[in-house]
């Protein structure tokens, strides 16, 4: 099968979409607007952190794999305000759930953006596995794929996100608006 010719501008727009959604949803998940997005695209490592949460957004037009690399210590600090408990008192499960919820919020919002513009996509369950499993992800050198890395951080505490976008049909994405609308704050419930 021949590889589809994809305009780099289209790939970059998808990359920016993930970045915009991620920082916005992270601030909401952590209920803290001080978190900022830091450029780390030059960082090259085989394993980024002890844990890795991943979620998939997939449809006819594209496939996005968002991976969030984190450790429990940092996650507890970030999740502490929303649980209303000291970081030390949070359980490991709660720290993981916080990151999973961030993945869910991000993927869910990306899905909403696409669906609002009549592009069907589905989202997977967020999974938490070991950061070491990053070595099992095959690097694909294709023109239809863009890989991105960025940090979401506040006061030295944060997560590192890696994002792989593969575009299958750029015509479906040509008119897409990637701007994020201001929404009313909703209460987030952690199960």
């Amino acid at each position: 099968m021949t590889e589809a010719q994809i305009d780099p501008a289209c790939l970059n727009r998808m990359k920016d979409l993930v970045r915009n959604v991620s920082i916005d949803r992270f601030r909401r998940a952590a209920q803290n607007d001080s978190f900022t997005l830091l450029e780390t695209s030059q960082l090259k490592r085989d394993v980024y952190d002890h844990w890795m949460a991943l979620i998939l957004v997939s449809g006819k037009a594209l496939r996005m794999t968002l991976k969030v690399h984190f450790n429990i210590k940092a996650s507890k600090k970030m999740a502490s305000p929303i649980y209303g408990i000291n970081p030390e008192k949070l359980e490991v499960r709660q720290a993981k759930d916080f990151i999973k919820e961030f993945c869910n919020l991000s993927a869910g919002y990306i899905k909403k953006i696409f669906e609002d513009q009549s592009i069907d996509v589905g989202i997977s369950l967020p999974l938490v596995i070991r950061g070491f499993d990053e070595v099992f992800f095959e690097r694909q050198d294709k023109e239809s794929i863009i890989e991105d890395k960025f940090k979401i951080e506040n006061g030295g505490v944060g997560v590192l996100c890696t994002n792989i976008v593969e575009v299958f049909n750029q015509d479906l994405l040509s008119d897409i608006d990637i701007n994020i609308e201001e929404e009313e704050e909703e209460e987030i419930d952690f199960l």
Partner: protein
């Protein structure tokens, strides 16, 4: 509920089960005894276990990107690095070797047995990773040392005989003195210990030697029933020895696996002096008896000569 929703729920359920199962497997790796690590070509740790994080004195989550070389001495790391290169250059051949690890906590070196193998995550990933497993054998070495000290200092001949009836390589140092020879390893035990007895012993002693041979590899119960016939004291001739040889006191202990005697532990002691003094005592006793008999004999003769007295 639509069919798609049911399928989705089922898929989500199975994914959750797989996630939990993977998590349990990862925990098993975390708790592996000894060192477990996956490192890259520069020996940066990508995956470690709790034992390794203990050596680094850090949390398991902090071990990623740490330098494995930092737990070795400079000389030790040169050896270890060479082994990694050997694994890299060889086509899929693993390396196994023993190397000490210096403990930061108590400044004490611990012996580890290392296994290094190449780890390839996928065909498309051209990076070389290495799986490292280190087994702490310091306790084993300590026990071996203690055992060696016993073997080198105890004045007993201790040796084991395998199922092939030959003497095992490990025997006490005193055995060489006792038997006046050094080439004991791999020799037939009967030829070494009982050649004189087999040629010149009593029929019971000869049968006893045959019974030792027969009992190795046999059932433990058969061994126990034959044990009483085994010779417990034999003459061992030695050339150029003042006494012409030694009297050996011998005891036997079976080494039993799954009910059968796989090895025989033989303990020999030098009983020459005891036997010599016993014989000397016998001689003295005999002389004493003779002189008493002669005294009474002469006394009786005196009585005959002088009956009126």
């Amino acid at each position: 509920m639509s069919e798609i929703n049911k399928d989705l729920q089922a898929t989500h359920k199975i994914l959750t089960i797989v996630e939990q199962s993977k998590s349990h497997n990862d925990e098993l790796l975390d708790k592996l005894p000894g060192v477990f690590a996956i490192v890259d070509e520069k020996a940066k740790i990508l995956r470690g276990n709790l034992f390794l994080s203990g050596i680094f004195d850090c949390e398991l989550e902090e071990i990623i990107e740490k330098d494995l070389s930092s737990i070795f001495s400079e000389e030790g790391w040169n050896i270890f690095q060479k082994k990694i290169i050997d694994v890299k250059d060889s086509d899929g051949k693993d390396e196994q070797f023993e190397l000490e690890l210096e403990s930061k906590k108590d400044d004490e070196s611990k012996s580890f047995y290392w296994y290094i193998s190449k780890f390839s995550p996928s065909k498309k990933n051209d990076r070389d990773f290495y799986s490292i497993v280190g087994e702490d054998i310091s306790e084993l070495r300590k026990k071996e040392k203690q055992l060696m000290e016993i073997f080198s200092s105890i004045p007993l001949g201790i040796l084991t005989v395998g199922s092939d009836k030959n003497i095992d390589p490990q025997y006490s140092q005193f055995t060489e003195y006792l038997l006046d020879r050094k080439d004991l390893e791999g020799k037939n035990f009967e030829e070494i210990l009982f050649s004189y007895t087999s040629a010149n012993g009593t029929p019971e002693e000869k049968e006893g030697v045959n019974n030792i041979n027969a009992s190795i590899g046999e059932n433990e119960l058969i061994f126990e029933s034959l044990k009483s016939t085994f010779p417990t004291q034999v003459w061992y001739p030695i050339d150029n020895n003042l006494d012409g040889g030694r009297w050996l006191g011998i005891s036997y202990q079976p080494v039993v696996y799954s009910g059968s005697v796989k090895r025989l532990l033989i303990i020999c002691e030098d009983r020459t002096k005891i036997i010599q003094s016993e014989e000397a005592l016998k001689d003295t006793q005999m002389l004493e008896d003779q002189s008493i008999q002669e005294f009474f004999k002469s006394k009786n003769q005196t009585k005959i000569c002088f009956p009126s007295l």
